[in-house]
Structures are given as C-alpha cells and as structure tokens.
C-alpha cells in the first residue's frame, strides 16, 4: 500500500470510530457530562466551599483540571476497549485482518478514535466547568501537549486491554479496579502535600499523578511534580505500551487463531 492508500485506510478507521461513538451519544457523551457536573456541584460548590484553598487556589479551581483529565483518561480508554472488543466479539475485526492494513495503521486509527472521544469529552467538561469557575490558562502549550499525550496513552492502554480480553468482564476489570483507583489517588481531589511522607512516596509511583499535575500546571501554574518530568513519564509510558500493543498485534494475540 502506498502512502495515500495507508492514509485512506487510517481515516476510514478513524471516521468509523467517530461515527460509532457519536451515533450512541447517550451512552458515550452524555454520561460523563452529567457525572462531571455532579462533581462540580457536590465537590466543588457544596463541599469545596468548606474546604477552603488548595495549592493556593479555591477548591473548585483546583479540582477542575483533575476532573477534566479524569474524563479524558476514562473516555479515551473506554472508547478503544469497548469498540475493539465489540469488533472481536462480533468477528467484524476479521474485516480488518483480511485487508492489507498494516498493524501500526490499525493501532493509530483506534488510538486516534479514542483520542477523538477523550478530547471531545475534555472540551465538553471544560465548557461545563466555566459555569462554576473561571479558567485562566497558565501555559496553553503545556495544556495541549499533556492532554493529547495522556489521551493517546490511555487509548493505547484500552487497545491492549481489548486484545487481551476474552470476555466482557475483562473489559471492565481494568477500568474498575485499576484505572478508577489510580485516578482518584492521582491528585485529582487533593494535593499530595497533604499526605504523610510515606504516602507521598507511594503516590509518586502512580503514573496518573504526573498527568493530572502536568495538566494542572498548564492551567493553574502549580504542580506537585516537575511538569517536564510529567511529560517525560507520559512519553515513556506511550513508548512502552505502543511497543507492547504492536507486539501483541504481530503475534495475533486474541485476534488470530
């Protein structure tokens, strides 16, 4: 396949993914908007007003970057894992496997589809947050780079999960028992300065902490960790997970007999 044909194959996958999640918008776009609005009302307004300042900002301003990032992470991941696993389940993944699309184009297409949903939700949640607080961007490049890379990272993660999953339970195990706890403990709702030294050290092993803080630095200009370390960590995770995903695809793990 020449470059133009590869691009056509890539855009076919991306557009099909976007069409999929927009077609079922009550399942994909509406729930995170409702959930995040509840977070803003309950944690930001009702409880936040009693908490006072966090990291030098009122509590609502402090949690908004974390909540946006949380929505981006969970939706990027969920889009790819559910879409690709459904294709495996319906066997329509065979349409891709018999075609000449290279593995890296398949991965790129699905990751872009996951990013489209993750970032789309990020924009929706950001717009909703404006009803509760004023967002002043400290560093737009940092905001854009962090959110794009984080969305890409969790899209690749969702793809690996879908390849390894053999039943629907396997699709929900990682988001429920790994992703959600790591996100909640990743500094979305608090600064790790509040934690004792030991738990601060433990928190530093949580990759999501770097993403949330990198994004928070881009918006508020404050972070528990060096923002460049955050970017380095995200890039390193992307490289490792991409390598794993391509290896699994080449071996036909979960998709070829």
């Amino acid at each position: 396949m020449n470059a133009q044909a590869l691009f056509t194959a890539y855009t076919t996958i991306v557009l099909r993914e976007i069409r999929r999640f927009t077609r079922i918008w009550p399942q994909t776009l509406l729930p995170p908007a409702v959930t995040m609005t509840l977070y803003f009302i309950i944690f930001g307004n009702l409880i936040g007003s009693r908490i006072g300042e966090m990291g030098g900002f009122d509590y609502m301003s402090f949690i908004v970057p974390g909540l946006i990032m949380m929505a981006v992470i969970t939706n990027s991941y969920a889009n790819v894992v559910s879409s690709f696993f459904s294709m495996k389940f319906q066997r329509s993944v065979e349409e891709l496997l018999v075609s000449p699309v290279p593995n890296w184009v398949i991965l790129a297409g699905y990751v872009t589809g996951g990013m489209a949903r993750g970032l789309g939700i990020g924009v929706i949640v950001t717009l909703l947050s404006l009803a509760f607080t004023q967002l002043k961007i400290h560093s737009l490049p940092m905001v854009v780079v962090t959110v794009f890379l984080t969305s890409a990272l969790f899209s690749v993660g969702g793809f690996i999960n879908a390849l390894l999953a053999t039943k629907f339970d396997d699709v929900s195990i990682v988001p429920t028992f790994v992703l959600t706890p790591l996100t909640y403990l990743g500094g979305v709702f608090y600064s790790i300065d509040l934690l004792p030294d030991f738990w601060q050290g433990v928190s530093m092993a949580n990759p999501i902490l770097y993403m949330v803080n990198g994004f928070r630095f881009g918006i508020l200009g404050v972070s528990d960790v060096n923002p460049f370390v955050s970017l380095g960590m995200i890039l390193a995770f992307i490289a490792v997970l991409t390598f794993i995903a391509l290896r699994l695809l080449a071996r036909g793990k979960g998709i070829r007999h």
């Binding site: 020449n2 056509t8 018999v98 000449p100 070829r256």
Partner: protein, 316 residues
C-alpha cells in the same frame, strides 16, 4: 503462468495440540473454479483461514498470485476477497457503509468505493437495502452482503467458505449464476461447501481434504469417471407390487413404490428400458438417486478414515 494459489507443505497445530493440517500441497490455477471439499473438522476452514491470514500457520508456504504471505503479505491480501462461513460484519452498520468501509481498508477513497459498492450491491440485489442496518437483513441478504463486501476492491481470487449455507434453493441458484458470471470474467474462485451438487454444478477442479490431508486433487471430470455405480429412480405409470426381475441389474422398490435400479459402469441404460418394455412396465420419469459427487465423496472419506472411526459424522 503463476498460480492463483500455491500451498506447499502447509501444517497447522493449534495450541490445544490438535493437528488440523498435516502437510498440505495445493495449486489453484488462475481462472479456475475450484472446490475444497471435506467433512466437518477436516481442515478446510483452517486452510482458507491461513490463506486469508485469520489463522497463523505452523509451517509451510502459501503464495497468492506469486506473493508469499510471509514476505509480501500486503500484496497477497490485495488480490484476495474473502466470504467467510459466519456473518462477520458489524450488525449495527448500514449495508452501504459496511461495503465502503471495507474498501477503505484497502486504501480505496470513498468516492471510488461508493461507485464499486453501488455496482456490486445492485448486482446482488441489495441496492434497495443500502441504508438498512445489517441486522435487519434476512439470512440470504446477509450472505450476499458478504459477497459484495469481498468484491468491492475487485480481487482476482475470491474465497468462499460455505457461501450458500442456509440459503433457499432459488437464491442459491441465483448466487451460483452470479459466481459463474464472476468466474467467466476472470475471477478465480475457491469454494468450500457441504452441498456437493453445488461443487458438481460449478467447479472444474476439486480437492478433497480429510483429517488434515488432501486425499484427492483432480478435475471434476476425472473424479466422476471413477464412479462405478449409479442408482437411478424410475417412476412408473402404474404402481408395482414387486420389483421386476431385470437380468444383469439389481433393482428394488423403495418405500414409496419407486423403482430403484443400480447401473454399473459399462452397462447401458437402454438394456434396463428394453427389459422393462418387455415386461410392460412404462416409465414416466427418471432421476439419479444420490448426487454422484456425494457418493464418491463419502466413499473417499470413509476409505480415508482411521481405524476405529467408521463414519464422517460426529467429527465437527
């Protein structure tokens, strides 16, 4: 001339240890209409799955139009169109989208894909259903949709795994006619089927696979010439109480009173009619009892069965 498909020493052992293919050699010439026959579990779908890269081979070589799937997989795939045994499209997508998306995977831009999709959906009688979600189609329409999808990139080799399974006779005949037309236009076709009359009606060359080995690979004509006995069913004008005594022929009445006559190779049917005429038995119609190819197939598969395994049934 390069073969459409070349398979050498192909083996496949699944993770469970089951040896599905035990060293298969197969050649399909360009322009051929080829049948790969075998009982359930014989290795047909595994063979075709490897050619289409849905199954990874354990050893051996596979080339499609000269492109080795180990070194030129992308080129090999460009020449292939696949119609699988089971429905494998997104049931929620619309018919037109399923076909154009498949074209997109082959790098065909949407504008060009739309033209090709229209051509094949019209040919297969699905154009009126183009905006219908696939799940709303009947079984026969779904089968035709898979054929349209397989053809949208104009492959030179079309592989069909049980394409008419569960399809009514009328539709089956129209699909046969469509496939014959495709073959006449130059598309090489490889078919697996359980309907042996389908293979007999359509194919020029036939390979029979059993227990992971090719037990026969020859032309249909040569295969049918091996048939040494055929049974004919004769409908008589008047019901018979007992079967007439025909010298040199074995004959009997079936449960419905139809006369069954066994005719060996070299014997003339004229002798049957002459003797019946002499006994004042008037025949109003005649047909063969079993499909000829089916009879041969059963004999070959039974002959190839390992000791202790007598029939092909129960091996799915």
């Amino acid at each position: 001339m390069t073969n459409a498909l070349d398979i050498e020493g192909l083996t496949k052992t699944y993770g469970s240890g089951f040896e599905a293919l035990k060293g298969i050699d197969l050649k399909v010439a360009q322009g051929d209409f080829f049948a790969l026959l075998g009982p359930n579990g014989a290795g047909k779908s595994t063979t075709l799955g490897i050619v289409c890269s849905l199954v990874t081979k354990s050893a051996g070589k596979v080339s499609v139009f000269g492109y080795d799937i180990d070194t030129h997989l992308s080129d090999a795939k460009l020449h292939l169109g696949v119609v699988p045994q089971e429905f494998n499209f997104n049931q929620f997508e619309k018919v037109f989208d399923i076909v154009t998306i498949q074209a997109g995977y082959y790098g065909i831009p949407l504008k060009k894909a739309a033209v090709s999709a229209e051509k094949y959906l019209k040919k297969l009688g699905l154009w009126d259903k183009r905006n219908t979600p696939a799940r709303m189609l009947s079984g026969g329409m779904k089968r035709r949709l898979m054929i349209a999808r397989a053809l949208v990139h104009e492959p030179k080799l079309l592989i069909l795994d049980e394409p008419t399974a569960g399809v009514d006779i009328e539709l089956r005949r129209s699909m046969w006619s469509f496939l014959e037309d495709m073959n006449r236009q130059g598309t090489t076709i490889i078919l697996t089927t359980h309907y042996l009359e389908e293979a007999e009606a359509l194919c020029r060359n036939i390979a029979i696979i059993d227990h992971g080995r090719i037990v026969r690979n020859t032309s249909k004509r040569e295969l049918l010439q091996q048939l040494s006995l055929e049974t004919f069913l004769l409908d008589t004008e008047l019901a018979l109480d007992t079967a007439p005594d025909l010298e040199g022929f074995s004959c009997r009445l079936d449960d419905e009173g139809v006369l069954e006559v066994d005719v060996h190779k070299g014997q003339a049917l004229n002798d049957v009619f002459m003797q019946l005429e002499q006994q004042r038995v008037k025949v109003v119609s005649m047909r063969t009892k079993a499909n000829r190819l089916e009879e041969l197939f059963i004999r070959m598969v039974e002959h190839n069965a390992p000791k202790g395994e007598t029939k092909t049934e129960g091996r799915a």
